[in-house]
């Protein structure tokens, strides 16, 4: 009896803060729903509106009228899917090498990678535009995909992850079986780092999906932009913004992310325990 009571109390002590945390996490989403279901003037009234309103469909109509929502969403999907795929491939390959092999210049190359990681991304839009214009990629999605195809963050993350997730005995065994580098990567490394890859995949997809500054500059044709660039056109000329429509757009833009997340999260939540991060 006493022990059951004790474990119940312990359960309560765990669940109460966890539920509070869940509510705090969820509240801004709820608030976004409230904003997207009201007209702009209702949003600003006092006391604050606490329940969803009735303007959602009108906001959606206005949104679809203002921008090519699905066209730009397709572009965003194209970019995000391609980049995610390339990043997973290139970053995991590089990370596998940095985590598990020795070769001359390794320390210097990895140090260089970390330094590049710290260079402010906004450093220079103009020269990047010049480069892209020279090779004729301006205005096309290629200008967004290729430069993002490998990144320092992902290599850093996968390296830390692979250090412990991939056991050396496995590699040694596979080498004795005559497996070459690519076979080791494909048959030994990848299966065990799936959760780490899912994590990286989700964040790469999300980063591309929400990226704004470079697409804004490099996509010169408004009929062919990504979703975030299209959404930015909702901001008024003189700083006034219809928050109802903007929030509706932001919420709808979240839907594909949630789908990707639902697919990837299973991997992470199920299996991240198999590996861990090591310094």
């Amino acid at each position: 009896m006493a022990s059951i009571k004790g474990s119940r109390r312990r359960g309560l002590a765990l669940h109460v803060p966890l539920v509070v945390g869940t509510l705090i996490s969820a509240f801004p989403f709820y608030w976004a729903v409230i904003m997207s279901t009201h007209s702009s003037s209702e949003i600003f009234s006092y006391p604050p509106k606490l329940l969803p309103g009735t303007h959602f469909l009108e906001n959606v109509r206005n949104l679809f009228h203002a921008i090519d929502f699905f066209g730009s969403m397709w572009n965003s999907l194209l970019v995000a899917v391609s980049v995610t795929f390339l990043v997973l491939l290139f970053d995991s390959l590089a990370a596998f090498v940095f985590a598990k092999f020795e070769f001359p210049g390794k320390g210097v190359l990895f140090g260089l990678l970390m330094v590049i990681f710290m260079v402010p991304a906004q450093l220079s839009v103009i020269p990047q535009f010049v480069v892209m214009a020279k090779i004729g990629w301006i205005g096309s999605m290629t200008a967004l995909i290729v430069p993002a195809a490998a990144n320092a963050f992902g290599i850093f993350w996968m390296r830390q992850y692979m250090k412990t997730a991939i056991h050396d005995e496995l590699l040694d065994a596979s080498r004795l079986d005559g497996a070459n580098f690519l076979r080791q990567y494909w048959h030994v490394a990848l299966p065990v780092v799936r959760p780490g890859l899912a994590f990286l995949g989700i964040f790469t997809f999300m980063g591309q999906w929400n990226d704004f500054a470079w697409p804004l500059i490099s996509l010169t044709n408004p009929d062919n932009v990504t979703l975030q660039v299209a959404l930015s056109q909702l901001n008024g000329t003189h700083g006034t913004t219809d928050y109802g429509i903007v929030m509706t757009g932001a919420l709808l833009a979240l839907v594909p992310l949630l789908i990707v997340f639902a697919i990837g999260a299973k991997q992470i939540i199920g299996d991240l325990s198999k590996g861990a991060v090591r310094g």
Partner: protein
Amino acid sequence: MRLSRRGLLRAGLAGSAATALGGLASGCAVPTGSTGRDMVLWYWSGGLSDTVVKNAKARYGGSVDLRPIQIGGQYRSKLITTITGQAHVPDIAGLKGEDMAAYLPNADQFIDLRTLGAEKYRSQYLPWKWDQGVADDGTMVGFPIDCGPVAHFYQYDVFRKAGLPYEPDDVSEGLGTWEAFFAAGEQLGRRVPGAKLLTDVNGVFENVVQQGAQRYVDKDRHFIGDQEHVRRAWALAVEAKKRGLVSDLVSGTPDQLSAIQDGKLPSQLNASWASFDIKNGVPKTKGRWRVAQMPVRPANNGGSFLSITKACREPEKAFEIITWILDAANQAQGYVDAGLFPSTPASYGLKQMREPDPFFGGQVTTDVFGPAAQKIVVAYNSPFDVALGTPIKDEIKNVGVLGKDPKKAWSDAMSKCRRIAKHLGVSY
């Protein structure tokens, strides 16, 4: 669902292939800059009347393919990037009034509109506005779109309740000096609890500066932000703060909009285009507003230009399109569609601009903005105005919002300006 590596690989390859194809397809579809018949026009949302642009496309469709493109986000940095990158430069580019000072020193990036016969249109446009589009060496870079005459927006019933003048003519006359304006603000605060005359002190400071012909740096690259015209604006802004006439709200925030809606901020000094912001931001206040002249004399805030870039292959055609888009009739349409107040006085008498506006209780607002637009004085805008005006505006904001001591704020602003001036090679 578990992702198999093979499945992932397949999906990724398919995605990449689709992208490559999509990229190619769009690469063909996107004409890059001017390619003979194509004429690319860049502007921003609300920068031109969509109706007029559509009509222009149809009207000139026989000779050129006009491709109007609305650019979102930071317009100027995008335009500068393409010009510097020398790729995808539009043929016709909208230029925002506040950015003109940055474009004019680089007039060689644009076609001098005088060479296309601009001079014969001059008499149809407001003289001060016309001059703003001309660089120091006489090169005409920008052709006038709209202007932003500043007037006094106020809520009729609240002014009436406060025992103040409430008919537009009476307000223009009775609140015609800053002293009378401030005194009215004090009366408003006494009679209507919690009401403030203005949102912030910058409303006073910047409007007073913009009423005059000088800004912060003169033509000889000399700092003049420490001179009488700025000191006076500063003193008036400080006075508004000391007499308790400004709110502690931030312009454009939900709090400010709700205060306006509740009649707690029944007055603002703002440009003609602000009427569209008020209509969108606080639609419930319909019918409560009137417009009167601002104290002393009108100021100008905003207003933009169209230019033809060096990348344009058919400047004559582009100029023809520009002059048509910006003629008096189409500018009147621009006012109806986008609140762009015409720079062509002939528009003010046209029917579209004589309509009583129910949002303003049936007032014909052109009667206020039209005369105001014609009284604005030409000011010299230096490319260094932003860098050297910002510290002063920041410090007056500190006085207004954070309650900083005005003397300390002024001396901080001046020492910062001195440092920046030295850095930028502006004499102090």
